[in-house]
Amino acid sequence: MRKALCGNPPLATPEISPKITIFPILRATEFAQMPTKADVFEKVKAALVDALGVDDDQVTPDATMVGDLGAESIDFLDIVFRLEKAFGIEIPRSELFPDDVLTNSAYVADGKVTPQGVEELKRRMPFADLTKFEQNPVVQDFGNLLTVNDLCRYVESKVGVS
């Protein structure tokens, strides 16, 4: 469940109209609490170091989760739990990994994702850079190309960044 980003409004005193005092205070706290891209990266990095047991310096934006960081399917579950807790967000599995596209016969032919399938993936995963995958869209390779940066962009889309 997404935690409210706004702090508790102060108790309105009788002579001040609540509408005038609360709104600007809400706006101020919302901006103060919105993370920067760097904040998101640090927290994502910490989650990956804990979940995958890799060193801090191995977690670069371009590192692939599977290839470079050794993430396996059970690790993705671990990572999702940690990110949900760290950012106070909910990560439905199908948002991060639209498995259903990869198993839909309308989008897959001969072990490769069709152009319509790739478009659908792009639509469902605006946070991911699928250009590499698009060049040779083999279904088996799909998970392997997800990078740390893709993960950060996904989190950014859920929390909003300043």
Binding site: I74, L77, F81, E84, K85
Partner: protein
């Protein structure tokens, strides 16, 4: 050797937190000759006790319909050695439970002192595996013996109800 690595639940709040006790005894098989000069409880069996505490907590939250297994021990840090004569208090807290898995933060204490810290990731067994892994009536007997339903409470603090399918199996037992 039975595979029960907790002795009794002290506390059981459905879907949230469970506390169990494990007494370590010199007569237990795993202690014999394990560390001749200074017998101690193998870390792996402390971890198992903790996993049983947490696993039952996760399982009960779905009325024991899902088959919960340990998929990943993310981190386990052991502090002092636990010895025969010690009583270990295992505490498991749910961080989150999802459709396909759960995450728990757990600890072990001896006389109030932190003895181990463990992070566990559970997965729910899918349809590729035979159903069920326990006989329902025997499983209910085991959790009764652990005192789960003696101390168990739901989110409203009311005594925990035993799932109908387990009661039915128990009644049907010859």
């Amino acid at each position: 050797m039975r595979w029960m690595w907790i002795d009794r639940f002290l506390e059981f709040q459905s879907g949230r937190r469970a506390v169990a006790r494990k007494n370590i005894s010199l007569v237990e098989e795993q202690i014999d000759e394990y560390s001749p000069a200074y017998p101690y409880m193998p870390a792996s069996l402390i971890i198992e006790g903790i996993a049983q505490t947490a696993g039952l907590l996760v399982g009960e939250s779905s009325g024991f319909k899902d088959r919960v297994i340990l998929a990943k021990l993310a981190k386990a840090t052991m502090h002092r050695l636990a010895r025969p004569g010690d009583t270990l208090i295992y505490t498991a807290e749910v961080v989150d439970i999802k459709r396909d898995g759960a995450f728990c933060n757990c600890t072990s204490h001896i006389e109030g002192e932190l003895q181990a810290e463990v992070e566990l990731v559970f997965a729910m067994l899918d349809d590729r595996f035979p159903d069920p892994i326990f006989d329902p009536a025997d499983f209910l007997s085991m959790v009764r013996i652990f005192g789960l339903y003696d101390v168990g409470v739901d989110a409203n603090g009311q005594p925990l109800q035993i799932p109908p399918h387990l009661l039915a199996a128990e009644r049907a037992r010859p």
